[in-house]
Assembly symmetry: C2
Homo-oligomer: 413 residues x 2
């Protein structure tokens, strides 16, 4: 196959795209023109651009155009997609021109996390269908960062270890009451009730997820101790010993942090403990406009400083923060491998564009966590009058949990 | 002894002081008037106020007047001083009247941490004399929060455990270079060189401390690997693998955080690791005006959010934050017990007012850490291109350190 001839303008545009990307070891190809990086690092990937208009749109708005053109199959990536994206992320090109700013402002407005907005935003992602997520999540359907005691642990082991780690950090005691907001398919709520003998009220506005969670809690025999509420976190009422949120802060929106702080304080007051697990940043930066358009409308990953703004007004003591970003990269590697294995099924059910779009999202997320562009923070905090702060963190790493089986809690209730 | 008769005005003033303090279980006594709290909790202490003018000054400016009157012996405290202060701290009366604001503004100005200001501020506290601190610190002269693996560990064990914990958090490797700012009497720098085979450059502007540290490093046989520099942290130059600061951020002053961030970044760039250990707060609040006048001129304990402002502009990843405030209360209990045992010597050397003043400072600090008015944060961070981030924190709690004796490092150098 002969490659179409390119003009000096095409080559100029290729150079312009290169200067946006920096000297990353990724080749840019249009027709018979190839733009190679000015670096000794071996090339890890090649981007094949079909025509001038696609190239032009990538120069104008690379975040959006690359995502769109990759999803639609216009752009082909050869070589290692994840490594290529990682190199680009490390080089951290930030194109903040008028077109980016306009889009960003538009999403700020159109995807705002009002009550109805949150509902639309969550539906877009989490109500795709349980069958879709079953293709590539672990058996407990945990769709948040796992904790790998060692890097070679299986995804199943690592998700179980994460659930256990969260419970240990919170020092749960039998009979305590827990409110969870953004409970996904219910794995943590059910685990807490099964293994720690607590009562959980778990909130979620994804109908697909909450239906699954209710079924599962019945099968697990903890339906009397775990109540799944299909409602917005803003409607949490009542008093609890513990507040927990795993993977929801990203969907709250920064403008709602003061309200989230008040909701937490209303729920656990000055005596309770709380736990926030979320994707964060080293410094403030919005998600890419493509991610906001296609994957996570309304999402924002705060810097650590920004997230502390939830807690500071209520005099909460931050007790422990752990950054698990390497574990999220590993979790996503497992997800992508399973996703790729089920790729044909995804294509059949959702179409090729959707399948490519999700593949890019998963690969790009691995790249962002590896490159340190995204962080995963676990924040443990306690009220100013909390009486039960652990003396050290050593108990988190004790080999054997002081296991008490489900029956024992059931009897105690 | 008959107690002098009090007037209705005195009783009104006692009530006014009570309403500032809240219903804390502390009795207020002036002459034949006793003001008891409106609470069922048994009284833990009694404040004996000698005259109306002292009482009036306590109503006008309780933070300053109590400290001054206690130090001079005008006020006597009966019962449990620490418990009484703890109850008052928990009740958290904040008198922010014109007199407090005027004093606070004055200290902001007069004690600003310019280079010469810092020098004066540090001298005031740390150059009192090494003999004074030897009376009540541990044998290594570590004047920062210890780490008690169990609450009944000795102070000596706990300070050694703290030094080890810091080294483990930083994952030090032989041959690496470390810059320490605010090194006290040098215990950490010497420990790092002895047990982890690193080279340390350690800065301090306290002449008394640095003299002691130099002597000690010679005796310990690590003088060739630990350089003690009598200079301001702002004069750190050169490139290092690791930045560490234990107990200095409190003396930097918030206005200097941007500069501190630049200094850290100049020292370790994007590839290094860093560690900040400091007294902090749940939310912004200055030290009491009495502490600022008598004990720590120019000091400020930041909220966690404020302290992250040092790191955020330079894209540092926060990896681990631990709050050790219970350990600081315990550390201070040891210090106060030793201080009380040496009280007569302190009186002989420094006078009774000084001895009472320091007793109040130590007791008040225990109270503040117990009540959660002060926090102790250890923050581990890494540059955006740091290649050696530990996979988990489990190594911090391994029973036996992979010990390598001093000789081995000496041979390797």
């Amino acid at each position: 196959m002969t490659r179409p001839a390119t003009s000096p303008l095409d080559r100029k545009l290729l150079s312009a795209l290169r200067s946006l990307l920096g000297p990353v070891p990724v080749a840019l190809v249009l027709g018979d023109s190839e733009n190679l990086p000015n670096t000794d690092t071996p090339v890890v990937g090649t981007v094949r651009i079909p025509d001038r208009s696609t190239l032009l749109s990538m120069v104008m708005n690379p975040e959006m155009s690359f995502g769109e053109a990759y999803s639609s199959g216009k752009i082909e990536m050869e070589g290692d997609l994840v490594r290529s994206l990682e190199c680009v992320t490390r080089s951290s090109p930030r194109v903040r021109n008028w077109s980016w700013r306009l889009l960003s402002k538009w999403f700020d407005w159109a995807q705002a996390n009002t009550r109805s907005g949150s509902s639309r935003n969550i539906q877009h992602h989490y109500d795709l269908s349980n069958d879709f997520y079953r293709l590539w999540l672990d058996e407990k359907m945990v769709y948040t960062c796992a904790y790998f005691p060692t890097p070679d642990a299986s995804l199943e082991e690592a998700q179980e270890a994460k659930l256990e780690l969260v419970c240990r950090k919170l020092c749960l005691r039998p009979g305590e009451t827990v409110v969870e907001v953004g409970c996904g398919w219910g794995a943590l709520a059910i685990y807490m009730a099964q293994h720690y003998g607590v009562r959980v009220q778990a909130f979620n506005i994804s109908r697909e997820q909450i239906g699954w969670a209710r079924e599962w809690s019945k099968k697990a025999g903890v339906a009397s101790r775990v109540e799944f509420v299909e409602d917005d976190y803003r409607n949490v009422s009542g008093q609890f010993d513990v507040f927990v949120s795993v993977g929801m802060l990203e969907h709250v929106g920064r403008e709602n942090y003061p309200e989230l702080g008040r909701i937490i304080h209303r729920a656990i007051g000055d005596t309770g403990r709380g736990f926030l697990h979320y994707i964060g940043r080293n410094r403030p930066q919005p998600f890419s406009v493509w991610i906001r358009k296609r994957i996570f409308p309304g999402a924002y990953a705060p810097s650590l400083r920004e997230s502390i703004e939830v807690l500071e007004p209520h005099n909460y003591s931050v007790l422990d923060i752990e950054n698990l970003r390497q574990h999220y990269a590993k979790t996503l590697e497992h997800w992508l491998a399973r996703f790729d294995a089920a790729f044909d099924t995804v294509v059949r059910e959702h179409g090729i564009d959707f399948a490519r779009m999700w593949r890019l999202y998963l690969a790009g997320s691995i790249a962002a966590f590896r490159a340190g562009n995204l962080q995963l923070f676990q924040v443990l905090f306690a009220g100013s009058r909390c009486q039960s702060i652990p003396w050290t963190r050593e108990h988190l790493y004790a080999a054997v949990r002081e296991e008490t089986d489900d029956e024992q809690w059931t009897r105690a209730m």
